[in-house]
Amino acid sequence: MNTQGRKTTPDVESAAATDVGTYTGNRALVHEEPLIFELDNPGVTGVDLEAVPAVASRLGGLKAREGVGLPGLSEPTVVRHYTRLSQKNLGIDSTMYPLGSCTMKHNPRLNEKLARLPGFGDIHPMQPQSTVQGALELIDQLAHWLKTLTGMPAVAMSPAAGAHGELCGLMAIRAALQARGEAGRTRVLVPESAHGTNPATAAFCGFTVDAIPAEANGRVSVEAVKAKLGPDVACIMLTNPNTCGLFEPQVKEIADAVHAAGGYFYCDGANYNAIVGRVRPADLGVDAMHINLHKTFSTPHGGGGPGSGPVVLSDALAPYAPLPYVVHGADGFRLVEHEGEVEQGAQPFGRLKAFHGQMGMFVRALAYIMSHGADGLRQASSDAVLNANYLKARLQDLMSVPFDGYCMHEALFDDRFLKDTGVTTLDFAKAMIDEGFHPMTMYFPLVVHGAFLIEPTETESKATLDQFVGAMRHLAGKAKAGDAAHFLAAPRYTPRRRLDETAAARKPVLRWTPPAA
C-alpha cells in the first residue's frame, strides 16, 4: 500500500484525549439536526410539478388560500434530514429489541417488496370488484390461515390494530347479548395484570370494568373469576399467554365458568405468537380474540403503527361481525359492504373503519405466514418460548424472578434484586441502552414491582442472547456492587441523554412556532 509517507497507526497518546466537544455540536456519525422549519429556504421546493393549466378557479366563491406556512426544502435537504433522523433511532434491524409484549421480531423485506406490487399497493378501495379479485382472494386466504390456526369459524378482518380489535370483539359480544335480550349484562371482568387497552376498550364500549386480582403465582384462578361472575357479566377479557409471560393453566375452566354464567370469553391475543401452531384458541373456549398482525405475523411496527388486528370469532359471535367482509360468490369473491347485502342470519354490528381493513398489512402477514408454513410457524413459537426460557435460566440467579416455573415467550423479572442499590428499573434500562440494546418493557405488568418484561422473540440467535445475558449479568453485578452512579448517569452514548418528561408535561410544547421577530 502506498501511504505516501502518512502515518498509518494511531497515536495512542493523543487518541486517549477526553471529550473536547465540536464546533458543530455533531459527534461524527451523529448529527445535530434542526427541525424542517429551521431549514426553511423560502422559494425552494423538493418537487417539480407540471404547469397549472390557466383556468378560472371554481371554489364556489371561496377565496383561494395564501400562505400555509410550510418550509421550503430541496430534495437533497429532505433526504439528508430524514437520514440523520433515522440515525437517532434503534430498530430491530439495529439491535436486539426485547420490548416485552410488543414482539419485536425480524421484519422480512420480502413482505415489503410484495406489499408494494402495483397489484396490491396501487388499487383503489372503491374499484369495481371485478378488478380486485386477487386482492379479495388474498384477504380470503389470510382469513383461512387465521381461522385454521386458531380453530375458530370466523374472522373479522377490518380492525386497524390490537385495541381496535378489542373494540370489535366487545362490540360483537354486546350485539350478541342484545340479540339474546340480555343488554343488562354490562360488567366486564379484566384481570389487574391486563394491558391498559383492555379496561380502556371496555369503557369505550360502554361497559363497566371489574378487576380480578392476580394470584400469587401470576395467574388468574378460576375461583377468583367465579367469585366475580353474575347475571350482569358480559364477558371476561383474559390475555393468554398472560402479561406475566405465563400460560393460564386454568384457562379452559375459566372459559367454562364464564360460559356457564352466560358470559363470553374475549381473549387478548397480543401474546398469541407464543402458541401459534401449538394451541388453537378455539380449544380453550375462546369466543373472540384479536391477532396483532404486527406482532405475531411480523408486519413492521413502523415507529408506532400501522398495525392490524383481525378478530377471530366463535359461532356464537360470528353473525355479528362488522362490515365489510369477503364472501365466495358464484362468480368469484365478493365484498359485503352494506346491511342490505348480508346473507341469511348475519347481523353485522356496524362498521369500524373506512374501506376494508389494512390491506398492506394483510399482504405482509400472508407472505410471512406462507414463508413459515404450518411447520415453520410452530417452530417459530417454539423457538420464541425456548429463547425466553433460556434468558430466564441464565439470569435468574442474579435477577429476581416473581414467578417460578417455565415462562412462555417472555421472561419477567421484578426489581427486588435492586433493593437498596439505589438503582431503579428505569436506571437499569438506561444502562442497557449504553450496552447497545433496546430496553425491555419496564414497569409493566403492574402486578409486579418494577417489572422487567423481556421478550427476545425467535429471531434472535443464541450468540445474541449470550451477549445480552453477559451484559445483563454485568449490569446486575455492577448494581449490587454499589455502583449506582453508573446507572444514574446512563445513557451516556445516545444522541440525547435522559429527557425531562415532567417539564414536557407541565408546559406542553406540541409544535414548532416561528421565533418572535
Binding site: L35, V68, G72, S86, P128, A135, N389, D500
Partner: protein
C-alpha cells in the same frame, strides 16, 4: 427456515441450560387436551422466498392497478404521485423496525418527525395543535364526536348528509354503544341542507365534511358561528388533504376540531389501508384529545429533545378513564406524510392543490361540453355527474374496457333510487389529457 437462527444443536444446548427435557416440556401449563403435538393439518409447509413471491405476484396480477389505466376514483382515497425518495427513506430499518418511542433516548428520530408532523398538520388545518395520528379519517371522526361530548358535556351530535357514509357509519357504530344521540341529515347530492337549524342546546357538535362527499365546497364560517352561539363545537372533516393547499383552512373558518384522512400525502392507495387519521384542535382542548402527543423538552445536558407527553390521557396510564383506547396508531404512514409534505413545502403544497383543482375544472368543462351534467357549482378536485341509467352498471361496463370511471354514489349510498345515476369523479395531478378524453368519450358516448 430462513428467519430462524437457532440450530438443533443450539436448541439442545439451551434446553440443557434451562434444565428442561424438551421444548414440549416448556408448554407444561397448556392443558394436555389442547396441546397439539403436530403441525396443524391442511396448511401448507414453509416455502422459499421465490415461491412466496411467485404465489403472491400471481394474486397481484389479478388486480387492475389504478395507475395502469385512466382512473377517476376518489371518495376518500386518492391516487397522487408520491416522490420516490419517500418510500426509499421510509424503508430505512431504523424507522421501519422501531416501535412507539417509549425510550426517548433511542427514538429521537421518531419523536422529532412526530413533532414536525404535528406542526405540519396544525399548519395545514389552521389549528393550534395536532396529535401523532389516528388509524384513519373515519375513526378520527368518531373520536372527534366523543371528544366534543367530553368538552361540552353534551351528548348529541349532528352529522351532515355530505359526510362520507363510511365516516358516518364508523361514528354511529363507535358512539352508538355509548348512547350518543346522533342526528344524521339526509344526503342531498346538490349539497343543500340546513345544519344550523339542527343545532339545539343539547348539541355537542356539528360534523361537516368539506369538500363534501359529492365534492361541494362551502364557507363554514356561518356554521361555526351558529355552533358557537349554541355552545356547540364545529368538527370539520377533510377526506382530501391536498385541498388544504388551496381551500381556506378549517381553522380560519372557525373549526374547533379538524379530522382528516391523510392518505393523499405520502401514502399509496393500498386498497384502503393502512391510512392515517389526522386530528387537530385548539390549545384549550388539548387535554381532551385522544391519541399520542409528542412534546419538546430538554435532556440532562440542557439540549432540546422530544418525548411522548400528556400521557395521563392515555390507556396505559388511565386505563378505563382514558380519553380513548387507541395505542398503536399510524406511525409509518405519518412518516410518509411528513416526508412528502416536507418535499412539497409551501410552493409544492399550494401548487399541487392548484394543479389538482385546475385539472378538475378542465375535466368538468370537457364533460359539460359533451353534454354530461355536472352537479357542482364549486368543487376542489372531485365532483358529481349525472349519467344516463345506473351509474354502477356503467362503471362495471367501463371497467371491462379498462377505464375506472369513478365511484358510483350507490356504492356508498345504496338503495336510494334518486342517487342511482350519480357518479363521483376525482381528478389529481396524475390525470392526463388522454385520461380525460377517454372518460369524456366514454360518458359522452354512453349518454
Amino acid at each position: 427456515m430462513r428467519y430462524l437462527p437457532l440450530t438443533e444443536a443450539d436448541r439442545q444446548e439451551m434446553l440443557a441450560a434451562i434444565g428442561a427435557p424438551s421444548v414440549d416440556a416448556l408448554f407444561g401449563d397448556v392443558p394436555a387436551a389442547a396441546h397439539l403435538t403436530q403441525p396443524i393439518a391442511g396448511l401448507a409447509p414453509h416455502q422459499g422466498e421465490l415461491q412466496v413471491e411467485r404465489a403472491l405476484s400471481r394474486l397481484a396480477a389479478r388486480n387492475v392497478p389504478a395507475g395502469s389505466c385512466p382512473s377517476f376514483l376518489g371518495a376518500g382515497a386518492y391516487r397522487h404521485h408520491v416522490p420516490a425518495s419517500v418510500d426509499q427513506l421510509l424503508t430505512r430499518g431504523e424507522f421501519l423496525t422501531s416501535y412507539t418511542p417509549y425510550q426517548p433516548e433511542v427514538t429521537q428520530g421518531t419523536l422529532q418527525y412526530l413533532f414536525e408532523f404535528q406542526t405540519q398538520v396544525a399548519l395545514i388545518t389552521g389549528m393550534d395543535v395536532a396529535n401523532a395520528s389516528m388509524y384513519d379519517g373515519a375513526t378520527a371522526c368518531a373520536e372527534a364526536v366523543l371528544m366534543a361530548n367530553r368538552v361540552t358535556r353534551r351528548n348529541r351530535a349532528v352529522l351532515s348528509g355530505g359526510l362520507h357514509p363510511h365516516y358516518r357509519d364508523v361514528t354511529a357504530t363507535t358512539t352508538g354503544v355509548l348512547g350518543v344521540d346522533l342526528v344524521t341529515l339526509p344526503a342531498d347530492p346538490k349539497g343543500i341542507e340546513d345544519l344550523a337549524a339542527a343545532i339545539d342546546d343539547k348539541t355537542s357538535c356539528v360534523v361537516v365534511q368539506n369538500p363534501t362527499l359529492f365534492g361541494h365546497v362551502a364557507d363554514l364560517t356561518p356554521l361555526a358561528e351558529a355552533c358557537h352561539a349554541k355552545g356547540a363545537l364545529l368538527v370539520v372533516v377533510v377526506t382530501e388533504v391536498v385541498s388544504l393547499g388551496m381551500m381556506p383552512s378549517p381553522g380560519s373558518m372557525g373549526a374547533d376540531i379538524v379530522v382528516a384522512e391523510g392518505q393523499s400525502i405520502g401514502n399509496g392507495l393500498n386498497f384502503g389501508g393502512p391510512y392515517l387519521g389526522l386530528f387537530a384542535t385548539r390549545d384549550k382542548f388539548v387535554r381532551q384529545m385522544p391519541g399520542r402527543l409528542c412534546g419538546e423538552t430538554v435532556d440532562a445536558d440542557g439540549r432540546r429533545g422530544f418525548v411522548l407527553t400528556l400521557s395521563t390521557r392515555e390507556q396505559h396510564i388511565r386505563r378505563e378513564k382514558a380519553t380513548s383506547n387507541i395505542c398503536t396508531n399510524s406511525g409509518l404512514c405519518a412518516l410518509a406524510f411528513t416526508m412528502h409534505l416536507s418535499l412539497l413545502g409551501e410552493l409544492g403544497f399550494t401548487g399541487l392543490a392548484r394543479l389538482n383543482h385546475a385539472k378538475a375544472v378542465q375535466l368538468a368543462d370537457k364533460l359539460a361540453a359533451a353534454g354530461v351534467t355536472v352537479l357542482n357549482q364549486g368543487f376542489f378536485n372531485e365532483f358529481t355527474v349525472q349519467v344516463k341509467g345506473d351509474a354502477a352498471a356503467l362503471v362495471d361496463t367501463l371497467a371491462a374496457e379498462l377505464i375506472l370511471a369513478g365511484v358510483p354514489i350507490s356504492r356508498l349510498h345504496p338503495g336510494q333510487v334518486a342517487l342511482a345515476d350519480l357518479l363521483l369523479v376525482a381528478v389529481t395531478e396524475t390525470t392526463t389529457e388522454d385520461d380525460m378524453d377517454a372518460l369524456v368519450q366514454a360518458l359522452g358516448g354512453k349518454q
